[in-house]
C-alpha cells in the first residue's frame, strides 16, 4: 500500500487510552467546528500517526477549561506495530498540554461511557487573601475565609442515591437520579480540594455543587439549608456555578 507499509501484518485494534490534559486552552472535550477540542486533537494525532481518520469516544465530555488526569477514551485503528509503539508515537505528536497516559487493547464489549461504573472528579480552591499565579490555571481563587467543617458536613449530605436536579440537568432529558459514593474536602496549606465520586454526573453538577458549598463555607447558607436545596430537586435553587479551571476529571472506574 505504498510507503513501505506491510498491509498483511496490519491488524484492526480496539484500544483504550487514559488521557491527561490541561483544559485551559481547549474548548472542551467534544469536537466542534473551528474550535480546538481534546477529541479533535486526539483524532488529529491518530490521523498523523496511523494515516487514518479515527473516531475517538470519551468517557466524559469535559467542559471548556476543565482538566483531566484520567479521561478514558476508546478508538479503533489499523496498526502493524506494537501498542507500545503507538503510545510513543501519539505522545510524540500530541501538543504539550495533552498526553496519552496509558494505552492498551480493550475488550470488545468495552465502551468508555456505558461501561463506566464511576467517575472521580477533583475540584481545587486556592483559599487565601492573595491569588496564586502559579495555580491560576488549575484552581479557583476564593479569598474569603471558609468554614471547612460546614463544607464537609454539607458535602456529606450528597453521599447516597439522590435526585440531583438542583445541581444539574441531564444530558438528554433522562432522569436526574445519581449515586454519589464519596464527597470529601481535604485542606493542604491554602489549597482546599473536593474529591467526589459518583456513578455518573449531570451537566455541570460538580461545579454547581462546589459553587453552593462555597456559599456554605462563607456562612451564606447553613448546612441544613444546603440539605433542603438538595432535597427540593429544583435547578433554580442552586448557588453559582464554580469556574471550570478548578475542575479535573481524575479517574473513571470500570
Amino acid at each position: 500500500v505504498g510507503c513501505g507499509s506491510d498491509a498483511s501484518s496490519e491488524r484492526m485494534l480496539y484500544l483504550r487510552a487514559t488521557v491527561a490534559y490541561d483544559g485551559t486552552d481547549y474548548h472542551g472535550f467534544q469536537v466542534q467546528a473551528d474550535q480546538r477540542t481534546v477529541q479533535g486533537t486526539l483524532e488529529d494525532a491518530l490521523a498523523a500517526v496511523t494515516q487514518q481518520r479515527v473516531r475517538v469516544i470519551g468517557a466524559g465530555r469535559t467542559d471548556s477549561g476543565v482538566h483531566a488526569l484520567g479521561q478514558v477514551v476508546s478508538f479503533r485503528a489499523h496498526w502493524r506495530h506494537s501498542v507500545h509503539d503507538l503510545h510513543r508515537a501519539l505522545n510524540a505528536v500530541l501538543p504539550g498540554d495533552t498526553v496519552v497516559w496509558s494505552l492498551s487493547e480493550a475488550g470488545e464489549g468495552f465502551h468508555p461511557r456505558f461501561s463506566a461504573r464511576s467517575r472521580c472528579y477533583r475540584y481545587t480552591i486556592w483559599n487565601h487573601c492573595v491569588r496564586n499565579p502559579l495555580l491560576r490555571r488549575t484552581s479557583h481563587w476564593v479569598f474569603e475565609p471558609l468554614l471547612v467543617g460546614a463544607m464537609e458536613d454539607a458535602a456529606g449530605l450528597l453521599v447516597g442515591e439522590h435526585d440531583f436536579a438542583t445541581f444539574g440537568s441531564p444530558p438528554q432529558g433522562e432522569n436526574t437520579v445519581r449515586r454519589v459514593f464519596r464527597a470529601t474536602w481535604t485542606r493542604q496549606g491554602n489549597e482546599l480540594r473536593l474529591d467526589i465520586e459518583a456513578n455518573a454526573f449531570l451537566y455541570r453538577m460538580v461545579r454547581s455543587i462546589v459553587g453552593t458549598l462555597v456559599q456554605v463555607g462563607k456562612g451564606e447558607l447553613s448546612v441544613a439549608a444546603f440539605g433542603e436545596l438538595l432535597a427540593a430537586a429544583d435547578r433554580s435553587l442552586a448557588g453559582p456555578t464554580a469556574p471550570a479551571n478548578g475542575l479535573s476529571l481524575e479517574a473513571v472506574h470500570y
Copy 2:
C-alpha cells in the same frame, strides 16, 4: 495637583514587597528593551497606580522562564492612602501571572539584595515515563528512573562553604565561593524536589547543579565523581544546565 489628590497628606514611602510569578511568559526579572519582564511589569503597575515612574529593585534576577513564590523587591513611591490600599490596587492591575504576596514599609537600611542572608530555591522534576501536561510549566520532565539515594548523597556534598566555580559564573567577576546551608531532595509521588538554600548563588548555579545531579540519578556519574567535579572548581566540568521551567525562587531571608 489635580484629580482631587491631596498633596499635603502624601508621604514618600519606602516599601518592601514579596512577589510571586509564573515565569513562563516572562523574559526574566530584569528590564530589557521590548521584552516582557517581571521588573517592567511591576514598574508599569506602580506607574498605573501611583502616577509615578518608580524603580523596582529585586533580590534575585531570575532568568527567563524561572518562577518565584518569594521574590523580594523594594521601591519608593509617593502615596497618600494606606499600604493595604496600595497592595490591593497593585494586585488589581497586575496581570494574572504576577501578584504582590505581601507589602510593608521597609527600614531605611533595607536593600533586597545586599541585606539578604540567604535565598531558597526549589527545583521540581516530574519523574515518570509519561510527561505531565498539568505540570509542564512548573517542572522538568525526566522519564528515566532516577537513583534518588545517590542524588541525595551527592546533594549533601554541596552543603558548606565551597568554591562553586564548576556550577556557575559570578555576576561581576567576583569570587565564586558560596555557603550552602541545605540541599535536600524529597519525593512526592512522581515529583522530585530539590530544596537548596545558600547565602547567595552564582549565575545559573541551581540549574547547573540539578543537571549534574540528574546525571548522578541516571547512574552516568558516581557520587564520588560529583564530589570531584565540585572540588575541581572548573566550569567546563559541569553537566548540562537543567531547564528554567523547573526552578522557583521560594524565599529570601533577611
